[in-house]
C-alpha cells in the first residue's frame, strides 16, 4: 500500500505544471470551452503546442512518436491537465484509430496515417453506431462489397461526433452476413472527401452541433485502407473499448468541477445567506464528493494493476458507470445552483448583460451530458458486461 509519488515523479509533475501554465492561454480557453465557430482552429492550435512539446500522444509506442511515460506519469499528466481546466485532446484520431493502426495496420498504413495524426493534419471521426445498431453494435449493416481492388460501401453511420470537421472516418462495415454476426465485420478507413460520402447535421438538445449522420452511397474505398484481415474488424475494435471506458470516467475533470461548484455555492445567496450554508446542497455535494473520492482510488487501483502488467481489466466498466453518474450528478447541481438562469439562452447577449455567467453553459453541459451514460456502451450494457465477465452470471 503506497500511493506517495517519488522525487522523480514530483519533479515530473512540476515540469507538467510549468508547461501547462505557460502554454494554455485565456484565449484558447474561451475559444475551445465556448465551442465557438472558431473551435476547430483553436483545438488544433492547442494540440500543435502539445505536439511540439512531444506530449500529444504519450500513450503511443515511442517509435511512432509516443513518450515512454509510466502509468503514474501518465496519471500525473492527465490529472494536472484536468485540474487546469484543459479539455482532453480530440480522441478519435489520437486515442482511437491510431492504436488500431499501430497494433493491427501494415507498415504502409503506419507511415501514411500516424505522422499526419501526430501533426494534427488529419481530423478523424468514428463510424461505429448505426440507426439500427446502437448498444447492439454487432447488428451493423453498412455493407462493403469487393469490386476489384476496392470496396463499395453503402449504408449510414449515426451519432458521429465532429464528422463535419473530419477528413477521415474509421468504420466498422459488414463484409459478410452468412456466419456469426461478429465474424463478418471489417475495419475500414474512409476519406471523407470520397464521392458518395455525405454528412447530415443532427442538432442536439444542448443547442450545439456536434452530432451527425454520415451516409455512404456507393463509396469506393481501396482495399489498401482495410486494417488487418477482412472479417476481423470486431476484434480490433474491441481491443480499444476498455481504454475508452477508463478515460470516459473523467475523474480529474469531475474533481475540478466539484471544486468550482463549491466556490460558486459560496458566492450565490438565498435569503441573504450563502448557498454553501444550505444543508440540502451540502448533502448533495458531499454525496457526490464521497463517491468521487472512492472512484479516484478505484481508478488508481486500475492503473496500478495496469502497471503490474495485468491490464485495466473488466473493472473498467465500473469506472465508466460510476464516473458518468458522478458527471451527471455534478451537472444537475450546476443547474439547480443556477436556478432561473439555467433557462437563459445567451445568444448574442453576453453574460454581463444578463448578469449571470454560468446558467447557459450549465444547461448545455447538463443537456449534452445525458450522452455520457449512453455512449461508449450504455451503462446498462456495462452492467451486462460486468455481470457476465466479472461476476460470471
Amino acid at each position: 500500500m503506497d500511493i506517495t509519488f517519488s522525487a522523480e515523479e514530483l519533479a515530473f509533475r512540476d515540469q507538467v505544471r510549468a508547461f501547462l501554465s505557460e502554454s494554455w492561454t485565456e484565449d484558447l480557453a474561451s475559444r475551445i470551452n465556448g465551442r465557438s465557430g472558431d473551435y476547430k482552429a483553436a483545438q488544433i492550435e492547442w494540440q500543435n503546442k502539445l505536439s511540439a512539446k512531444g506530449w500529444l500522444a504519450p500513450g503511443w509506442p515511442v517509435e511512432h512518436g509516443g513518450v515512454d511515460w509510466s502509468v503514474t506519469e501518465n496519471f500525473i499528466f492527465e490529472t494536472e491537465r484536468s485540474l487546469a481546466g484543459i479539455p482532453d485532446v480530440v480522441p478519435f484520431g489520437l486515442k482511437m484509430v491510431a492504436p488500431v493502426i499501430y497494433d493491427f495496420g501494415n507498415d504502409e498504413q503506419k507511415k501514411r496515417f500516424l505522422p499526419r495524426i501526430l501533426k494534427n493534419q488529419d481530423w478523424w471521426c468514428q463510424g461505429y453506431s448505426e440507426p439500427g445498431a446502437g448498444s447492439d453494435l454487432a447488428a451493423l449493416k453498412t455493407k462493403a462489397e469487393l469490386d476489384g481492388d476496392d470496396y463499395i460501401v453503402t449504408g449510414a453511420k449515426i451519432w458521429t461526433t465532429y464528422a463535419q470537421y473530419s477528413d477521415w472516418i474509421f468504420c466498422l462495415v459488414r463484409t459478410d452476413s452468412s456466419g456469426k454476426r461478429q465474424d463478418g465485420i471489417t475495419f475500414l478507413l474512409i476519406d471523407m472527401s470520397t464521392p458518395g460520402v455525405s454528412v447530415n447535421k443532427i442538432s442536439s438538445i444542448d443547442d450545439h452541433h456536434s452530432l451527425n449522420e454520415v451516409v455512404f452511397d456507393n463509396v469506393r474505398v481501396p482495399t489498401a485502407n482495410r486494417i488487418g484481415e477482412e472479417g476481423k474488424g470486431w476484434t480490433y475494435a474491441k481491443a480499444l473499448l476498455a481504454h475508452e471506458r477508463t478515460s470516459i470516467a473523467a475523474v480529474a475533470d469531475s474533481k475540478r468541477k466539484l471544486r468550482e461548484l463549491r466556490d460558486l455555492l459560496a458566492q450565490e445567496v438565498s435569503g441573504g445567506r450563502p448557498l454553501s450554508e444550505d444543508t440540502q446542497f451540502q448533502n448533495r455535494l458531499s454525496n457526490t464528493e464521497i463517491e468521487l473520492m472512492a472512484l479516484e482510488y478505484t481508478e488508481l487501483r486500475v492503473l496500478a494493476s495496469t502497471a503490474d502488467g495485468k491490464g485495466p481489466g473488466v473493472e473498467s466498466s465500473l469506472l465508466k458507470i460510476k464516473g458518468t453518474e458522478i458527471q451527471q450528478g455534478i451537472q444537475q447541481m450546476y443547474m439547480d445552483l443556477a436556478g432561473y438562469y439555467s433557462g437563459v439562452i445567451h445568444g448574442e447577449d453576453t453574460a454581463e448583460t444578463i448578469g449571470h455567467a454560468f446558467g447557459h453553459s450549465a444547461r448545455q453541459a447538463y443537456m449534452y451530458g445525458r450522452a455520457a451514460t449512453i455512449y461508449g456502451g450504455s451503462n446498462e450494457v456495462q452492467k451486462n458486461i460486468t455481470a457476465k465477465y466479472v461476476l460470471g452470471l
Binding site: M1, D2, I3, N283, M293, K322, T386, A387
Partner: protein
C-alpha cells in the same frame, strides 16, 4: 504506486483467513457468541499465540509495530468469519487508548498483558443521552486529594462483561457537551462501586451498562492529560473506525459472493435465477458498491499511514460510504435470497446485522456526513 500488501502483511492476512476457515464455521461462531463471556477464551489464547494481539503495539512493548494496513488485513478476514472475539474492544480501543496515552507506567503495566491474552479491556464512552456525540459526557469525576471520584453510568460497553479493566470518559470540567473538560480514567471492573449489567446486541456481542457509584481512581490512572481526553478519543476512534470499516468490507465481499453463488444454484421458472437481467443488474450494483467501499477504505488507510492532513475527512467519507453501501448490499443480499434470507439458520442475516451494527458504531452514515460537511464547509 501500488495497492499490494507486503509479504509479511499477506502472511498475517492468510493466517486469519486460515483460522476462519478451520475454526470458525457458522455453528462455532454461533456457539462462541452464545457462551457466557460472549466469545471463546480458547480462541483468544490462540490469537495471543499467533501474535495477533500484539499487532498495533510498539516493539518496545513486545508488539508487532503494525499500522492501519496490518489492522485492515486482519479485520477484513475477521469480517468474513463474523468473529466475535473482542479484538476491537480489547486490542484496538482499550489498547489503542493506552498506546496513544503517553502514560508510560500504564503502558508498562498493561500492554504486555493484552499481548499475552491475560487482560481483557474496553472503552466506556457512551451514555444514555449521548447518541453519537463523543463529547456528550455527564459522568462526573471530582478531585479528592490525589484521587478522583467517579459517578455516572456508561451504556452499551462492548466486551463490558469480560473486561478486567475499562477506560472511562468522565467530565472533570466544562459543560455537558464540551470537548474540553473530558478526562480518561483507567478503572478495574472489580473496583468498589462498579456495577455491571449485561445484555446482547443483534450482532451477537455481549455488552454491558457500567454504573459508577463513588468509584475511587488514583490520580496516575489518567490517560493523557486531565481535561484533554477528547483529542485522544478522537485519534483512537478514527483508527477504530478504519478497522471496523475493514471488517465491513470483508462482510460485504462475503455477502456478494454468497449471493452470486446462491442465484446460480436457485432454480425458478425452470432456470437459474442468476440468468435474469433484473437480478444481474442488482448484483452488479452490489459489486460496484463493494468495490467503491474497498477503494475508499484503501484511501483512508493510505491517509492514516502517511499521516495526511485530511485524514478526518477521509475517515468521515469512509464511514458514510461503508454505512450506505453496506445497507445496499445487506438489503439486496436478503432480497436475492428470497424467503431463505429471512431465516435465522442462514448466515446471511447475521452478516447483515453485523453491518448494521458497524454502521451505528461511532456515528451512522448521516451523522458522519454532517461531520464531513462541517470539515468541508467550515474552514
Amino acid at each position: 504506486m501500488n495497492f499490494n500488501l507486503s509479504e509479511e502483511q499477506n502472511m498475517l492476512k492468510d493466517s486469519v483467513a486460515r483460522f476462519v476457515r478451520d475454526e470458525y464455521d457458522f455453528d462455532s461462531r454461533r456457539a462462541n457468541a452464545a457462551s457466557e463471556l460472549g466469545f471463546n477464551p480458547a480462541n483468544w489464547q490462540m490469537f495471543a499465540e499467533l501474535g495477533w494481539l500484539s499487532i498495533p503495539f510498539d516493539e518496545a512493548h513486545g508488539g508487532f509495530g503494525g499500522g492501519a494496513t496490518e489492522v485492515m488485513a486482519v479485520m477484513e478476514e475477521m469480517g468474513k468469519g463474523l468473529v466475535v472475539e473482542p479484538f476491537v474492544a480489547t486490542v484496538l480501543m482499550f489498547g489503542g487508548l493506552l498506546n496513544k496515552s503517553g502514560n508510560a507506567a500504564l503502558q508498562d503495566a498493561n500492554i504486555e498483558k493484552i499481548i499475552d491474552g491475560s487482560l481483557q479491556g474496553s472503552f466506556a464512552y457512551l451514555e444514555r443521552q449521548s447518541r453519537f456525540e463523543l463529547a456528550d459526557v455527564k459522568t462526573q469525576a471530582k478531585r479528592d486529594g490525589a484521587d478522583f471520584v467517579l459517578n455516572g453510568e456508561k451504556t452499551v460497553v462492548s466486551n463490558g462483561m469480560a473486561a478486567n479493566k475499562v477506560v472511562v470518559s468522565a467530565r472533570t470540567s466544562g459543560e455537558q457537551c464540551d470537548e474540553a473538560g473530558i478526562t480518561l480514567f483507567l478503572i478495574d471492573t472489580d473496583a468498589p462501586g462498579v456495577e455491571r449489567t449485561s445484555y446482547r446486541l443483534m450482532d451477537g456481542q455481549l455488552v454491558a451498562n457500567i454504573k459508577l457509584t463513588d468509584v475511587r481512581v488514583v490520580g496516575d490512572h489518567v490517560l493523557g492529560d486531565v481535561d484533554k481526553g477528547y483529542t485522544l478519543i478522537e485519534a483512537v476512534v478514527g483508527d477504530v473506525i478504519i478497522a471496523l470499516c475493514a471488517e465491513a468490507m470483508g462482510i460485504m465481499q462475503k455477502l456478494n459472493t454468497t449471493t452470486i453463488e446462491y442465484t446460480k444454484t436457485r432454480q425458478q421458472f425452470g432456470v437459474a435465477i442468476s440468468s435474469f437481467q433484473a437480478l444481474q443488474h442488482r448484483m452488479v450494483d452490489m459489486f460496484m458498491a463493494g468495490e467503491q467501499a474497498k477503494s475508499i477504505l484503501y484511501r483512508a488507510v493510505c491517509a492514516a499511514e502517511s499521516g495526511a492532513e485530511d485524514l478526518p475527512k477521509n475517515i468521515a467519507a469512509l464511514k458514510v460510504m461503508i454505512g450506505r453501501n453496506g445497507k445496499l448490499i445487506g438489503d439486496e443480499a436478503i432480497q436475492l435470497h428470497g424467503g431463505m434470507g429471512l431465516t435465522d439458520e442462514l448466515d446471511v442475516g447475521h452478516f447483515v446485522k453485523r453491518l448494521m451494527m458497524i454502521n451505528t458504531t461511532f456515528g451512522d452514515a448521516d451523522f458522519q456526513q454532517k461531520k464531513f460537511n462541517r470539515l468541508t464547509y467550515s474552514d
